[in-house]
């Protein structure tokens, strides 16, 4: 009886999981399929799922029309650059919040999180003007700075949660053993928190890779990453669904591959240490 029951619920849960995953994945699948259609089939009133003339034309068109590899390289520099710079700032910040708590630490953490609740448009004008005055518009450096700032609260929070799991006494032991604060972080904290730091880095690379508000506004031609490359197919000459889809696929494939190979790490990171 008991096993029968748990078998049944196992089947239900599995079906549910597949159903939800299917729902989430369907738009991506549709994009993938559309990228192999002709423009005419892409906007057809009764679209077919698989029965169409498969073509690679969109991909060759897109590659011929835009400098894909430039955009790709910009995306790499911006996402990895901002994540690394963010780590350099977030590690000491999270260290102090996790291990040198004061009465105000909790408030500070909440305040940092609250900046994520602010609509980015709220600071659009000042940031745009500052970028103009510092000549950072359409530069990779400018984008790295903005992406770092945008993701910093998440990085500090994630690292803070990880650091909290590390027994305080181990760090104190290193202090007794003659470590300066830098040595304590470098020799003891970082090796112990390595899985957490890796997850933080990965998640932020993905977030920065997919970010499309600031990247679209602050770049033109030189520093435009793949998000701007996708967007360029949605405007001036009208909509080209098939090419837009091909561009989207080319933009998300690198990050999907990264995500695929690091999924174990990511799941662990995103469960915020809840599962040990």
């Amino acid at each position: 009886m008991a096993t029968n029951n748990s078998n049944k619920s196992k089947i239900i849960y599995t079906a549910l999981a597949w159903g939800i995953s299917g729902m989430i994945f369907f738009p991506i699948l549709w994009t993938l399929l559309t990228s192999f259609k002709t423009e005419a089939e892409a906007i057809s009133a009764n679209p077919s799922l698989f029965m169409f003339d498969w073509t690679l034309e969109n991909y060759s068109d897109v590659l011929a029309r835009s400098p894909y590899f430039n955009h790709f390289w910009n995306s790499v520099v911006i996402s990895i650059g901002s994540s690394l710079l963010g780590l350099i700032i977030a590690i000491p910040a999270a260290w102090s919040m996790a291990f040198v708590q004061t009465k105000r630490t909790k408030h500070l953490l909440m305040w940092m999180l609250s900046t994520k609740m602010l609509p980015p448009v709220g600071v659009l004008i000042p940031i745009y003007l500052m970028f103009r005055d510092f000549s950072l518009l359409d530069t990779k450096l400018g984008l790295v700075i903005v992406m770092t700032l945008v993701n910093l609260p998440i990085m500090v929070w994630m690292l803070y949660t990880y650091f909290r799991e590390i027994p305080h006494e181990i760090l104190e032991a290193s202090r007794m053993d003659g470590c300066s604060i830098g040595e304590e972080i470098f020799h003891v904290l970082l090796p112990l928190a390595l899985p957490g730091i890796a997850s933080t880095l990965l998640l932020n690379v993905i977030l920065a890779w997919n970010e499309a508000f600031w990247t679209l506004i602050l770049t033109a031609a030189n520093a435009a990453p793949l998000t701007a490359f996708i967007a360029s197919y949605s405007s001036p000459e009208g909509l080209f669904y098939a090419k837009l889809s091909a561009a989207s696929v080319m933009a998300i494939v690198p990050i999907l591959i990264l995500g695929w190979f690091s999924q174990k790490q990511l799941v662990r990171g995103l469960s915020f240490g809840a599962v040990k």
Partner: protein, 340 residues
């Protein structure tokens, strides 16, 4: 060298005054134990000596120099934590080498020191394992090994044995005492276990709610406790306390008799009671005796005590073993006691 002087040291967390002003002189080479019930501030004071907590007011001198604001790394002290606090990502060898590497000791010398620590602590077979692959006792040895290689001027232990099982605890207790004799270095040892304190200490400081009630050798504390708290804390089983009505000219409000001084007598005695639960330990017997108007008293008898549950007995104690306390719990000079 390892003499430590605490001068009017205090500690507050927020509004809570955890350490009231404490003065204490710890001599070079002595084994001093901080003992007291849990939550009384022993660990906090030890951590202040280590430099892991800052001192709210007062001064801590180490070897005659003010170290109140010196960072832990610069105090020349070594600490063994209750949780051992080994570096889980390093082998035993690297755990022990860590403080030496930080001190930029030459590699050849590091090797020699690891070898000698491994020999003293029987760690030879485990040097290349990770802490996670060791038993509690072995981890404890590694933690001690990491402490001794630095040749600190004093060792600080915070309840180092409380995570070990009973038999191992007795062994490690002996090993630490032995180590103290070999190294001849100051050791400050925190525990809530008065047996550990009595067996290991040169001197004991008895803590209670952020103050030191008394400092003295184990026998001084046992024989001449300054107050009821110390009298009750030191000794096992605990001293029996009997409330008495204060009479004119005699401020005694309570008398204390240790279980080992309470005797069954054929005469009238001081108290009469009925034998309750009897605990046979083989070498000795603990009798719990219900005395009307006084409550339960514990009596420590020989191993072959013939009394049975329910027997009526008369109890007495030698006058010089009966301690007198006033209403505030302070020990009074002995006066003759003739029962309630």
């Amino acid at each position: 060298m390892g003499s430590i002087t605490l001068k009017q040291v205090t500690k507050t967390f927020g509004d809570v005054n955890v350490i009231k002003p404490i003065d204490l002189q710890i001599h070079d080479g002595e084994f001093i134990v901080f003992v007291g019930p849990s939550g009384c501030g022993k660990s906090t004071l030890l951590r202040m000596i280590a430099g892991l907590e800052d001192t709210t007011s007062g001064n801590i001198d180490i070897d005659g120099k003010d170290a109140t604001n010196t960072p832990p790394a610069k105090r020349g002290l070594a600490m063994v934590f209750q949780s051992y606090a080994l570096y889980p990502h390093m082998s035993v060898r690297n755990n022990i080498a860590f403080p030496l590497k930080r001190a930029k000791v030459p590699p050849a010398e590091i090797e020699a020191k690891i070898a000698s620590a491994a020999k003293i602590l029987n760690l030879g077979d485990y040097l290349d394992r990770k802490p996670g692959q060791l038993s509690g006792g072995q981890r404890q040895r590694v933690a001690i090994g990491r402490a001794i290689v630095r040749q600190p001027s004093a060792f600080l232990f915070d309840e180092p044995l409380s995570n070990l099982d009973a038999s191992l605890r007795v062994n490690m207790r002996l090993e630490i005492s032995e180590l103290h004799k070999t190294l001849d270095t100051t050791m400050i040892y925190v525990t809530h276990d008065q047996v550990e304190a009595m067996t290991m200490a040169d001197r004991i400081a008895v803590f209670n709610a952020g103050v030191i009630e008394q400092v003295g050798t184990p026998l001084e504390l046992y024989q001449t406790p300054v107050n009821r708290f110390v009298a009750g804390f030191i000794g096992s089983p605990k001293m029996n306390f009997i409330e008495v009505e204060p009479v004119d000219g005699n401020p005694t409000s309570c008398v204390g008799v240790r279980p080992e001084h309470l005797k069954v007598t054929q005469d009238k005695g001081l108290w009469t009671g009925k034998v309750g639960v009897i605990e046979h330990l083989g070498s000795e017997t603990f009798l719990h005796i219900h005395v009307d108007g006084v409550g339960p008293l514990t009596l420590k008898a020989d191993g072959d005590c013939p009394l049975k549950y329910g027997d009526n007995v008369n109890l007495t104690a030698p006058q010089n073993k009966i301690m007198h306390f006033d209403a505030a719990g302070k020990t009074l000079p002995p006066t003759p006691f003739s029962g309630n």
